[in-house]
Amino acid sequence: MVNYFSLFSLTESFDIDLASLSRTYQELQKLTHPDKFAGGSEQQKRVALQRNSQVNDGYQVLKAPVSRAEHLLALRGVELAHETQTMRDTDFLMQQMEWREALAEVDSAEQPMDVLDELNDTVDEQQAALKQRLSSLLGQPSQGNLQEAAESVRKLKFINKLQREIAETEERLEA
């Protein structure tokens, strides 16, 4: 597996400087884009294509907190991709169900936009808390912490999905 942190010469950490990530991305594009090797040998073009693909993928992975955490976990031997592990935290699941119900019933509310705003705020809060938790767990990577971090990533995925659905509902109500 390619270590995207080293490709972007970043320290392996959940907390990264996004501005510097984006600067390095532009720099790496200039060094690896196949257009820069249009007059080069087939081999140079091939190597550029491989490296540039990694640069593009690495940028996407590192940019978003969830995929960044997943990548960090994978580097530490905890593979989350395509896993079938189910969520065990029943409190979290109950909470999710409540929020989903609230979202489903928003149409019948008197002030649906207000309900959505409130829901948005609560969900954002939980998301921020999870991210902070992730950052501290990944900062001291013991085996137990890694497993808990993996659980946090799973939760964040739930939350991202919910946020997308809230946004879609918002758009539908505005139209």
């Binding site: 720099e27 200039k30 060094l31 257009d35 249009a38 007059g39 087939e42 693909s53």
Partner: protein, 619 residues
């Protein structure tokens, strides 16, 4: 011919030695070729001073004609005159029958996945027809530039799928052109206006041609062009204006149905003339000699009323494209006009009031795409080593694979920056299974049947194992032109699976190879000599490049690696002195393999050096 030029990336040849490269706008109704000369990108003319080449090829028993002459023949010999071949690239006969039910062509096999026409010159497919147009343009460029030209940038619509892009590239290969890049048409138009060096923000490219309308929303960010969304109507254009006006003229002079039918072609061509006059003056006079109807006068306002519904239709498509891009009209910082029909003043006015800003129109809207392509070709061929601009394209349509129940599972989402590679793991479901089939589709819908089938990849040579024990890692690689290739490896054994590609539309690889061979067969006598010479030149090129690289970076290899590489280089040197083309090819391949790691390490070294420099700057 600068075949032997070798320079490290970033270092150009001597400044006076400009390398030749052309930009080609391979259009539906007409095509153009442009090149940068003395720092200025301009379209090149034929011997009659014409810039536009009608995208029409007429096949006769004697040969073929391209352009205006062929266009004249279209009405006389419709079955042998292929018009607007671009619509047929990467399409099946069924697609074409569905979209254009009354075409005058005789298709060779109605059921085939790839199209071929029966012409007086034999069977021709859309790739060959396109190649004939490209060859004509290449010839024009060589006459005009006074030297052999092989390097080209060719434009394609932003929404072109893999099969259509591949078809364009195959046509170029047949025409003897090396495609440095397939460039999206709207990106080319934006480049022509130098928008890459200007402000950042969203650019709308409004392209109204004779028969098609395209709207593209691009985002420019730090020298990076990204296509956000595209839309349009493949059956809406300036031709509709002409027909509407023709009918209005007929009404005006009181033609009955018979007269209307009898004089329809004259009416349409009269309408075209009136439309063009009205672009420059508020009224147009027309002598209707054909119906003895005398002279009539038409005001611009009359034309405006007639074409308003069509323009409204284009603006609705613009609104949808903005919505798809998730941006508002206010975010648009520039509007670029492309296509001859944007010369009509009312079109400009309406576009201006829709976007709330005056569109850019200083470059001839027929030429702007070719001009942009030429600018990019000049950069790619290495004439502007200091140019920092980078065109990052995105994948226009999501790539996915067929899974259980006819569902499409997305592998690479649309609007992902390319090149990109994604790996997916598969396992066998039967003991001893040695082959599997992967069906790749392109599109946004969830069901495979609603997406466009791209190809079926058959993997063979999987080592026999118990069911579920073989883990096959399949890598989907999309290159900078948006073209897909697939490779596969069994993980535990490291065995590379063989892959046969069965494209769903268009031509298979061996068909292209056969066509290439056939196109060269008239010169069979010196072909072998030429191929040997080419391989010897290539061998010299490979060795020289490696020697200079080793002189700098020998330390990147350990003694054993270096010994292996130097052995293969010695073999290649020996092979190049003998006269077996195949031996040289094999020796080049061996050197290529042995030096792959070296090439990777050199690139990583340059990356590390640059990034180290960057972090020092930031201290």
């Amino acid at each position: 011919m600068a075949l032997l030029q070798i320079s490290e990336p970033g270092l150009s040849a001597a400044p006076h030695e400009r390398k030749l490269a052309i930009g080609i706008d391979l259009g539906t109704t007409h095509s153009l070729v442009a090149s940068v000369r003395s720092g200025v990108a301009e379209t090149l003319v034929d011997e009659n001073g014409q810039h536009l080449l009608p995208s029409v090829v007429h096949y006769t028993t004697q040969g073929h004609r391209v352009g205006y002459e062929a266009y004249q023949d279209a009405s006389k010999d419709a079955a042998n005159t292929i018009v607007s071949v671009k619509r047929f690239l990467g399409r099946s006969v069924a697609d074409i029958r569905h979209n254009w039910p009354s075409l005058p062509y005789e298709f060779v096999n109605e059921d085939a996945k790839s199209v071929s026409f029966n012409t007086a010159q034999g069977i021709k497919n859309p790739v060959q027809v396109s190649a004939d147009i490209l060859t004509e343009l290449r010839g024009r460029a060589e006459a005009s530039l006074g030297d052999e030209v092989t390097n080209a940038v060719i434009t394609v619509p932003a929404y072109f799928d893999d099969a259509q892009r591949q078809g364009t590239k195959d046509a170029a290969a047949l025409a003897g052109l090396n495609v440095m890049r397939l460039l999206n048409e709207p990106t080319a138009a934006a480049l022509a206006y130098g928008l890459d060096s200007g402000q950042e923000g969203v650019i709308a490219v409004y392209d109204l041609g004779g028969g098609t309308f395209d709207i593209s929303i691009l985002r420019l960010n730090k020298g990076v062009f990204e296509v956000l969304s595209t839309g349009g109507d493949s059956a809406l254009g300036g031709d509709d204006f002409d027909h509407a006006l023709a009918n209005a003229i007929a009404d005006n002079v009181g033609f009955d149905a018979t007269q209307r039918k009898q004089y329809y072609r004259h009416l349409v061509s009269a309408a075209k003339t009136v439309k063009e006059q009205l672009s420059d003056s508020p009224t147009a006079r027309l002598d209707l000699a054909f119906g003895n109807m005398g002279e009539i006068e038409i005001a611009r306002e009359q034309l405006n009323l007639l074409i308003e519904p069509f323009i409204k239709q284009t603006l609705r498509a613009c609104r949808r494209a903005l919505k798809d891009a998730e941006i508002g009209k206010d975010d648009v910082v520039e509007v670029v006009l492309v296509g001859g029909s944007t010369r009509v003043p009312f079109v400009r006015d309406q576009v201006e009031s829709f976007f709330g800003r005056a569109p850019l129109s200083s470059i001839d809207p027929d030429k702007v795409v070719a001009v942009g392509a030429a600018i990019q070709a000049d950069v790619l061929v290495g004439n502007k080593p200091d140019n920092e601009m980078l065109l990052l394209d995105v994948l226009p349509l999501s790539l996915g694979i067929e899974t259980m129940g006819g569902l499409a599972e997305k592998i690479v989402a649309r609007n992902t920056t390319i090149p990109v590679a994604k790996a997916q793991e598969f396992t066998t479901f039967k003991d001893g299974q040695t082959a599997m089939m992967i069906h790749v589709v392109q599109g946004e819908r969830e069901l495979v049947e609603d997406c466009r089938s791209l190809a079926r990849f058959e993997l063979t040579g999987i080592p026999p194992m118990a069911a579920g024990a073989a883990h096959i890692r399949v890598t989907f690689q999309v290159d900078a032109d948006g073209l897909l290739s697939v490779s596969a490896m069994e993980k535990s054994s490291g065995v590379q699976a063989d892959i046969q590609v069965k494209p769903s539309y268009g031509l298979e690889e061996n068909e292209i190879a056969d066509m290439l061979k056939a196109s060269m067969s008239h010169a069979k006598g010196d072909m072998q000599a030429r191929m040997l010479k080419e391989q010897q030149v290539e061998a010299a090129r490979v060795l020289e490049a490696l020697q200079s690289a080793l002189a700098v970076d020998k330390a990147l290899l350990d003694d054993r690696e270096l010994a292996v590489l130097e052995n293969t280089m010695a073999d290649l040197d020996a092979a190049a002195k003998a006269d077996s083309t195949d031996d040289i090819k094999a020796a080049i391949d061996a050197v290529d393999k042995a030096s792959q790691v070296f090439a990777e390490r050199r690139m990583d070294k340059s990356i590390n050096l640059a990034l180290a420099g960057q972090s020092v700057e930031q201290l």
